[in-house]
Symmetry: C2
Subunit: 349 residues, 2 copies
């Protein structure tokens, strides 16, 4: 089991080939790159792969790995080399709960799909955890806290199972030790839709359809009820179009534009292959669920808490936003994170 109080101060050693090493004290150190590592994949066997990572923060701040959903990646906050916003605005950023001035924030790109290292599939959450470990090795971090949401929460749980001695505090949002068969059923339909598109020369259309369906599981019926009229847009016209349909189509098209189908298939499948032993949960864990999350319902997170035998803290937050609440309930998530994670007490400038 990890010694949480000891692990709170994570070590940070600058490795020999740091390309973007910056030693100015006031500005958080930013390092991004790709580490070549030979990982022992669960099903693919030992394979050399590239793990892309981005780290930002003072070398002596608590190391905190931040992992999100399947479409999230290593880029957590705007940096000088990549000024685009991160995937978790309002939660990660200067002055936010996850502050690059007070944490050494670490993100990675998940493995999966067609890569320069060949087709990676099936890939498991434990494989992703091994990739995180390789990034931590590269950064010289021996142990870290984790904030994992959705798929990233599963990866964090897998990391804690594989590397208990490297795991400090865990904050898991919208994730559990296993998936729900209804969620697996709906994701299997998503994969079938993407595959139908791919097999018939319409990969973007298939992928958009898969994402449109996924969106119905990310949000709640309550939100859609407030948001969309049930009336058709152009009464009398066939095929009929509905406001909710326009929204889902737009979200699907946007996703198809920026995501790769092989990667989607590998990561969607990886969710359904996820399984960790509840007993591997570190004692110092905060579990966060949302009352309207149908993909990872509070009772499933309770099952993890109960079966772990560790009495972790489990907070269920009321939200209109279903599974996406971890992205939408910024204030509530931020205050939970601030209260739960080790951080540098004040910024030294």
């Amino acid at each position: 089991m990890a010694n949480c109080s000891a692990a709170r101060v994570a070590s940070y050693a600058v490795p020999y080939d740091a390309p973007e090493r910056c030693t100015r004290a006031p500005t958080p150190t930013i390092r991004s790159g790709s580490v070549r590592a030979r990982l022992a994949f669960d099903h693919l066997g030992p394979r050399p792969v590239h793990v892309a990572y981005e780290a930002q923060g003072p070398v002596d701040a608590p190391a905190t790995v931040v992992l999100g959903g399947i479409s999230a990646g290593r880029h957590l906050t705007p940096t000088t080399s990549d000024p685009s916003k991160g995937w978790w605005p309002g939660v990660v950023g200067e002055g936010d709960a996850l502050d690059p001035a007070r944490h050494l924030l670490i993100g990675i790109d998940f493995l999966g799909g067609k890569t320069e290292d060949g087709l990676l599939r099936p890939v498991t959450t434990h494989d992703q955890a091994r990739a995180v470990a390789a990034a931590l090795d590269e950064l010289g971090v021996t142990a870290a806290s984790f904030v994992g949401s959705s798929y990233g929460g599963m990866v964090a749980l897998a990391f804690a199972e594989l590397f208990p001695e490297r795991t400090a505090r865990l904050v898991i949002l919208c994730a559990a030790h296993r998936t729900h068969p209804m969620a697996t059923g709906i994701r299997s339909v998503q994969r079938a839709a993407a595959s139908l598109g791919a097999d018939t020369g319409q990969p973007a259309r298939g992928l958009a359809l898969a994402r449109a369906l996924a969106m119905t599981t990310y949000r709640s019926p309550e939100e859609f009820e407030e948001r969309f009229s049930p009336r058709p847009l152009h009464p009398g016209r066939a095929p009929a179009r509905f406001p909710v349909e326009e929204y889902l189509d737009a979200r699907g098209a946007d996703f198809a534009h920026r995501f790769d189908i092989e990667r989607f298939l590998a990561l969607s499948e990886s969710i359904d292959l996820h399984h960790t032993r509840p007993g591997s949960l570190p004692p110092d864990t905060l579990l966060v669920s949302f009352d309207t999350d149908a993909l990872v319902p509070p009772w499933l997170v309770d099952e993890l808490a109960t079966r772990s035998g560790r009495c972790p803290r489990h907070v269920t937050v009321t939200s209109l936003f279903g599974h996406d609440a971890f992205l939408k309930e910024v204030d509530q998530v931020a205050s939970l994170l601030k209260a739960s994670l080790p951080r540098t007490p004040e910024v030294v400038r």
Copy 2:
């Protein structure tokens, strides 16, 4: 408003061209056929169409129109000319709650899709109600009670709105005065899946995919949780296959085998176009919802009850089976129907 006590005894006159007329008293009269009628479609204008119907029961028994989901049709019970079972076994049949010895049971085939009368789309629940009225005219039935489930419940509500004087008692299961935007969103994805298949020369695959997705909305997460293991069937193999996926695929393939894609598109769209004025609900109505029905949740049925201003009886039944509970909870549905519908007190033989 319908005078319910007067309407309980429905008249039944044998029309001039009844091909299967049977005058033996003990055996319920069976009549099936197709009536040619000119219907005033909401969006297609006036059009001559064929309405296929099947009626079974004593001429002097209370006329009861029985309407089910989009895949249900006119055939309610085994007959000499069609010994196949009906779509609602356990509820409709000899000795059952809807007994052809004690009711004049009437079913129709819904209009929609590619027909001998051309492409019927968009078709509304009010159009279907006009088709029911044409069948009742053909059978010489001036007024009838209705048992409508799912799509058939919407059609029954539309009938009551258009023809209050011909509506006796209504029993509506799993249906309301409008649809829910989340349900519309998921059905729009189903239609897009079917269309992707049709557009790429894979109509059966598209339709199977649409139906697989529909099945996830017909059943409840609770049932799937009890029924399916979350573990993959062949660990390590890609693409992974899951027990719930096999089930959904099988149900989808079965549907694609027996259903037409144009008909599916028209009827699915018709659900989403459904809208009736709550105030048109007859006072003598029983509304039945199921606690796990996510497509037509109890609160939506409550909305109909409240807005109708008629104080109809609304019973919410506890079930594991979601929207499909009207098909699965045979005993509870049967006892509700027995207590609510006019029927011949005893069989005269």
